[in-house]
């Protein structure tokens, strides 16, 4: 009960500060829209798709997963700014639930991702994207879990390294191979066998397959439940790790 109340409190505060930051509006909304408008048209010939609609059907799920990963993976930078301002320490001397310090922030990150995802989905419809409501909601659940996982990891790492100078190269080093072996921008159907084998070890490649299956109107595909299980378990582990980092004394 206290956890819910405190999470709501931290969520409200985090959301308020997000809305006060105009950079987020620009980067968070304009950028994905540009991807949609400027990058997707290249894909039709590249994918050998017969219609624009077919290209969007492949590209939009990948774009959404990419946003979920990258939007959430870099939230740690904001936390380091908060550590420096002293607002985290200020929270930690109050009896506020330590889990809420993480959950409130991560749920804010999930919400911001879902807003982006809805905008992109709606904008893609005139280009020929078609998806059933139930499927898209399940896809959003999966995307929300991805965002939760990445944001929790990002906060935990940020609490560990405590400096932008260390966090930036660390996240870059990890995220680049993850992105390339997840089949996000182009499906791994084109990949050689060895690359497909590497991709099997990348949980996000499972997630991308799951979201694509849902956008194809195939919620019963094994890729869907496998993605939910893999990402769900990872999310739970990451949330526990990060919540513990908030509880632990730092420095």
């Amino acid at each position: 009960m206290k956890l819910f109340r405190d999470t709501w409190l931290v969520f409200g505060r985090a959301t308020q500060l997000l809305l006060r930051n105009p950079v987020w509006i620009i980067v968070g909304i304009v950028q994905p829209v540009l991807y949609l408008l400027l990058f997707a048209p290249l894909l039709k010939p590249a994918l050998g798709a017969k219609t624009n609609a077919e290209a969007y059907q492949v590209f939009v799920p990948g774009l959404l997963v990419m946003l979920a990963i990258f939007g959430a993976l870099f939230v740690g930078f904001g936390l380091i700014a908060e550590l420096r301002a002293g607002t985290i320490e200020r929270s930690r001397v109050t009896p506020v639930s330590r889990g809420a310090l993480l959950l409130g922030r991560s749920l804010r990150d999930v919400m911001s991702l879902l807003v982006q995802a809805i905008i992109i989905t709606v904008l893609a419809i005139p280009f020929g994207l078609s998806v059933r409501l139930g499927d898209v909601l399940l896809a959003y659940l999966l995307l929300g879990l991805i965002a939760m996982f990445c944001s929790a990891v990002s906060y935990a790492v940020a609490l560990k390294v405590r400096s932008e100078d260390a966090l930036a190269p660390l996240l870059q080093t990890v995220s680049q191979p993850v992105l390339l072996t997840a089949g996000i921008l182009l499906p791994l159907a084109f990949a050689p066998v060895w690359l497909k084998n590497v991709a099997k070890w990348n949980p996000f490649s499972w997630a991308v397959d799951g979201v694509r299956a849902l956008f194809n109107g195939d919620p019963g595909a094994p890729a869907v439940w496998k993605a939910l299980v893999i990402i769900g378990v990872l999310t739970v582990l990451a949330v526990f790790w990060a919540a513990r980092s908030f509880a632990r004394s730092v420095r």
């Binding site: 206290k2 405190d6 409190l9 505060r13 308020q16 500060l17 006060r20 930051n21 908060e82 420096r84 301002a85 002293g86 607002t87 320490e89 200020r90 929270s91 930690r92 001397v93 109050t94 009896p95 506020v96 004394s249 420095r251």
Partner: protein
């Protein structure tokens, strides 16, 4: 006792190149702070003051020792300690883009208070700290002194029994510092116990009822500022006169003089307390008909105390 500690300890692992080495930041601190006191923790940077404070404020787990704060065992029930204390960190605690009112309401609510009550408390506290005028501006527009007042207001919004202030006046101009001292005294008047760290001698001297001097992770002296000063050397009286030989004879044997030295232009006396010694000195010299040129008294400062206890001055360390 409002705060009582026994053998409080903390060490950190630090890495120098390849070698890992434990640094003992706090090496067994015993403290006893009475309710309603302003208790000062004086020492140079790196003495372990902040580490001790962070342990008492539940932010850092001690490696050893015990502490009871406002009647609650620190190590057994840190959650309950948090409810009873306030803590104001050295580096500030406000977010640039938030307003003072938003910060105060949020902070009050983190103690489990409802929204309406939190808003009411924020308004009262803003008024008490003379911040109402700026309450709805963003914190980044505040002066250093205003921002520091918001920090303190945040630390006491839940009416704690004890408030820990970590170097609250560092970086403030003299006027804001004097203002801050008034705020701290006001907290005591409201019945709070104030535990304050500082590396300013004048601050410890002017503000604190009792102080502990810390150096290299240990407490080297404790007492009221006056008793500490008396304990080490008493007062010094410099007397300018020409007939040093006779003056030395007369004063050297006097009971109230601890020690006498002759100087280039007179004598120097070490006495317990200059206030009572000076009339006696004057009478003794007058009785023997010795002419007196000048008289000058020097009271020891806390820096002299620090020098005696640690072998160096606070200003140079």
């Amino acid at each position: 006792m409002m705060i009582e500690t026994h053998g409080l300890k903390k060490s950190f692992r630090s890495r120098q190149g390849r070698d890992k080495k434990a640094v003992e930041a706090v090496r067994g601190v015993d403290l006893a702070v009475e309710p309603g006191e302003i208790f000062g923790f004086l020492g140079p940077n790196g003495a372990g003051k902040t580490t001790t404070l962070r342990m008492l404020a539940t932010l850092l787990e001690p490696d050893g020792g015990q502490a009871t704060i406002a009647g609650v065992d620190l190590r057994r029930d840190p959650g309950e300690v948090r409810r009873r204390i306030g803590y104001v960190a050295q580096g500030g605690s406000t977010w640039d883009e938030s307003t003072a009112r938003e910060e105060l309401v949020l902070h009050a609510r983190m103690y489990g208070v409802g929204k309406a009550e939190a808003q009411r408390r924020a308004a009262v506290t803003l008024e008490a700290f003379q911040l109402t005028e700026y309450a709805d501006r963003r914190c980044k527009t505040y002066s250093g002194g205003q921002r520091r007042r918001v920090d303190i207001a945040l630390g006491i919004i839940h009416q704690p029994k004890v408030v820990f202030l970590d170097e609250p006046t560092t970086g403030l101009d003299p006027q804001s510092r004097a203002h801050m001292w008034d705020e701290v005294r006001r907290l005591r008047e409201e019945g709070m116990t104030v535990f304050i760290t500082t590396h300013y001698l004048e601050e410890a001297d002017a503000l604190c009822d009792r102080i502990a001097i810390m150096d290299h992770g240990q407490i080297v002296a404790e007492g009221t500022p006056d008793s500490l000063k008396q304990e080490i050397s008493g007062d010094v009286v410099n007397i300018g006169l020409s007939d040093t030989t006779r003056a030395s004879d007369v004063l050297g044997s006097a009971e109230f003089v601890r020690k006498l030295e002759t100087t280039d232009n007179g004598v120097r006396l070490y006495v317990d307390e200059a206030g009572t010694a000076i009339p006696l000195i004057l009478r003794a010299l007058d009785g023997e008909g010795i002419a007196l040129g000048t008289i000058e008294l020097h009271r020891p400062s806390l820096d002299d105390v620090f020098l005696t206890k640690t072998g160096r001055t606070l200003r140079e360390s």
